[in-house]
Amino acid sequence: MLQRFLFLQRKSFVRGAGFATGLAQKILVGFAWVYFAFVFAGLGFIAFFYPQEELGEDPLVFLSGYLIYGVVFWVIARYFLQKMPMVHVQPLLVLPVSKKSIVRFGLSKTVLSFFNLSNLFFFVPFGIILLREEYNPLGVVGWWIAIGSLILATNFLNIMLNSVDRILILVAALLVGLYALQYFEIINLTTWTAPLFMAPYNQPLWALLPVGLLVLSYRWSIAHFRNKLFLDSEAMRPKKETHRAADLSWLDRFGRTAIFLQNDIRLILRNKGARASVWMGFAFLFYGLIFMSDIYSSPVWMVFIGIFVSGGFLFGFGQYVPSWDSSYYPLMMTQNIAYKEYLASKWWLIVVGTLVGMVLSSFYIYFGWETYLAILAGGVYNIGINAYLVLLSGAYTRTPIDLASAKKAFGDKKSFNLKTLLLSIPKVVLPMFLFYVGVLIHSKSMGIAMVALVGVLGFAFRNLVFGWIEKIYQHEKHQTLQAYKQKNT
């Protein structure tokens, strides 16, 4: 049975619309794996020798003390970063395959995720050093089993967090509570939990407890999804949303562009994926706050921040233009719309989104006018250059977005992922370079002016660039239509 599932998995990967980009990405991810393997193995060494040599503490006790933070980190990092696996289960439901094995396969896929294996790179070298330094072998094995089970238990917990909002709220409340206890020094978490994490070493039988936890969480997820494999369950089809009657007639005065704008606004309001991407863009507004403390030490980062803070909408939503329209692209291609108009409407949407971002980010004035000017310059650059780049890469991305995201038992709720981040790199590097040149020539202000100037220039050549982009879209039209036909990848 497993063989057959793997067969389906392989086919869906190789025959997916985004195979070419998917492959390049996989290779890149492969390199990242090797890199992280070394980094984590290195950390494993440091985690042993640093406490021993520098602090004169027992490394195992030292690490065990901090493991509670590790567990919390696993839970949080997974929730925000780990992609949920997708299994196209609908055609399998009426075949002689037990529902349990469908679910089991979907869940097993998650075990192979980066978030589990990377820990292996850390804990295996660490444990081997323990063995070589003549720690009790049975204890080390017990400790290993305990930690491994905990890691996998957080893996399954994460799946539940993604699926059941109630559990998410519960766990979030628990974490906040623990943080409060620690913060107000009511209890000291590490002194409480260190013995817990040491117990499996002192008495390997204690490892059975985390193992039990793992089994429990695994069974829980199996049972949960087992009951969801019905066509009318929420996991399989999106919730029928109540009609969000948005009165957008005030936009009518903008003529034909309004027709598209109204449509795109409804797209954002009524589709989960689109909504999430816009929220993501909103979160970008606050991205700069992380850097505010030491912003002046490296002025080049000012532009970096400027691009991201003002361009949240562009990076979150714009990145996927025109894939948002993938499910009805043939309609768009046969309606009474010239390609130029269609592209212009998308461009306007991105411009308006960026302008809103520029206005909303005005609270950065608090950190000085120079900071806000950098953001404004970044905004101008986003409008003048990056908006084109987004449209341009859109012509080649061709990954269909299934708006309804039906037919998937294990849906992926996050539309923002590593791939989006990779696509944004070229949009950020060039303005940083421009800024740097400006600084070399004269000053920081000059750098900011350079970035803004290039943005304005890009804006000025709008018609030229549009004609050019239009040609590319025309040329790619049939391939795009073809690619959008393949819904599930």
């Binding site: 029928k240 949303e241 109540t242 009609h243 009657a245 007639s249 009518d252 034909r256 027709i259 109204q262 449509n263 409804r266 797209l267 009524r270 589709n271 499910s327 009805y328 692209y329 043939p330 309609l331 291609m333 046969t334 309606q335 009474n336 719309i337 010239a338 390609y339 708006l403 309804a404 039209k477 049939h478 239509l481 073809q482 959008y484 036909k485």
Partner: protein, 233 residues
Amino acid sequence: MIDIHSLSKTYGEQTVLDIEQLHIPAGQTFGLVGNNGAGKTTLFSLMLDLIPPSSGTVTNNDVVVQKSEAWKPHTAAFLDESFLIGYLTPEEYFAFIGGLRGMKKEAVTEALEAYADFFHGEVLGQKKYIRDLSKGNQKKVGIVGTLLSNTPVVVLDEPFANLDPTTQIRLKNLLKEEASATGKTFLISSHDLQHVTDVCDRIVVLHKGKVVRDEQTSTDTLKELEAFFREQL
């Protein structure tokens, strides 16, 4: 209205469509029949420039479809659900389509009244998104979307499929009325021989990508078509 010149579509070794010459005059109700894989949808997709031909051209009202987008203003089409926007209500969808064709909202609402019977109270005013409608009702939305905007050319791929029997009859009447009242050119494909012969002035049979029959509809057409397809057994 529509002229096809040595049009062919080849995938690898396989030729899925090969039409030497086909002329569809303005105002004709043109029926296309053929088994699965005969090339019906391929032909329509080529007419709408959704796929590129391997050779030849389609001319729609003096516009070469493969070269210019100027055919779009006078052509409306509904091939499958990818011509619907799932997250809109039917009303919003019609306003969107009508808007693109230069109709005011009031004009759209007014035009929709003519289709109240066809909708049978199941489409308008439901406060449902199109994606939540049944397949049959989705089809109704798509069909009316093409009729609404009064384009001279209307392309419908299997409009009868998925409709309930009553609505099939209503659709037949609707198409006949539209054809005689407005002089639109209709291109309709169907697997239902009875329905196409009822509606269409002319029937073309595609078989393995080639036109094998092309005739004006007469009282004998249905029988002849049935005989033709029986031979394929």
